[in-house]
Symmetry: C2
Subunit: 155 residues, 2 copies
């Protein structure tokens, strides 16, 4: 597949979302001196969820995938700064990322195996777990494997 075809399939959007809390403690860089978060007695940079979907649906439709990731970001209270999706041929897989004021959500799909690998990285007061039900509803997986990483954990 020539590079031109990939570029043509690339979709870029810079529309900011409606969660306009850029000046609050949720964002990467406002209103507080220490941008690490505290939870359960731990202090760290951000929560990173790795979410594997098996037996999932609608993994080859970039418009659906884009919508799902945006909805997932909004559900977590995040602010979308930028999104970009690619649709690959011939397997129909989609790669996409949504850049947030609070980090990012990414997805890579393998429709031929009904598999998708998602990661949800959020700092500040956003709760990445609130994204998971939205992703379940969008892709209706038979099973989900989820692991949580606390990035930048201070010992």
């Amino acid at each position: 597949m020539p590079m031109e075809a990939f570029i043509q399939l690339g979709m870029v959007s810079d529309d900011p979302s409606e969660n306009q809390d850029l000046g609050g403690a949720d964002s990467h860089g406002e209103a507080q001196k220490d941008y690490f978060v505290e939870k359960d007695g731990q202090k760290f940079a951000g929560m990173h969820l790795l979410v594997d979907l098996w037996g999932a649906h609608d993994l080859g439709d970039p418009v659906h995938v884009d919508r799902a990731l945006r909805d997932a970001a909004m559900a977590a209270g995040a602010t979308i700064l930028h999104s970009h999706f690619h649709h690959f041929a011939p397997n129909g897989g989609v790669s996409g990322v949504v850049v947030l004021a609070e980090s990012h959500i990414s997805i890579h799909t393998w429709p031929e195996r009904d598999f998708a690998a998602i990661d949800i990285f959020m700092c500040g007061a956003c709760d990445p777990y609130l994204s998971v039900p939205v992703l379940r509803a969008a892709f209706r997986p038979e099973s989900v494997e989820l692991s949580e990483q606390r990035r930048g954990l201070l010992s």
Copy 2:
């Protein structure tokens, strides 16, 4: 900080890199029916490295960060499809992502703590471990914490 300032600081590039192996087995969607990879007797979708840098340098310069991630992608043999970086105020942190034909590399930096969280997700024949020395050279961290996740591991 108003949303307009974030948008202005956003940098987008769609220049494809020189690694033009989009038609080979390295890419997400060409030339083979089964896009999962095999390594060490395991079969999985892709290798995902989570790399935390501590005591790191030059974390507040989006041009430097962009260059470092692109160089890291190229070192791994990956093909860059798209990159996007944001520079946050007032802490000077940078969030960025490079979308690859073989998945993605992302970074989020906390210059006030000399900390950066990077993730390198690569499918196909790309070796994400080849990105790590490039990132070490670019950010000169005092210490690095690395964890490897095999996404979509078939049991």
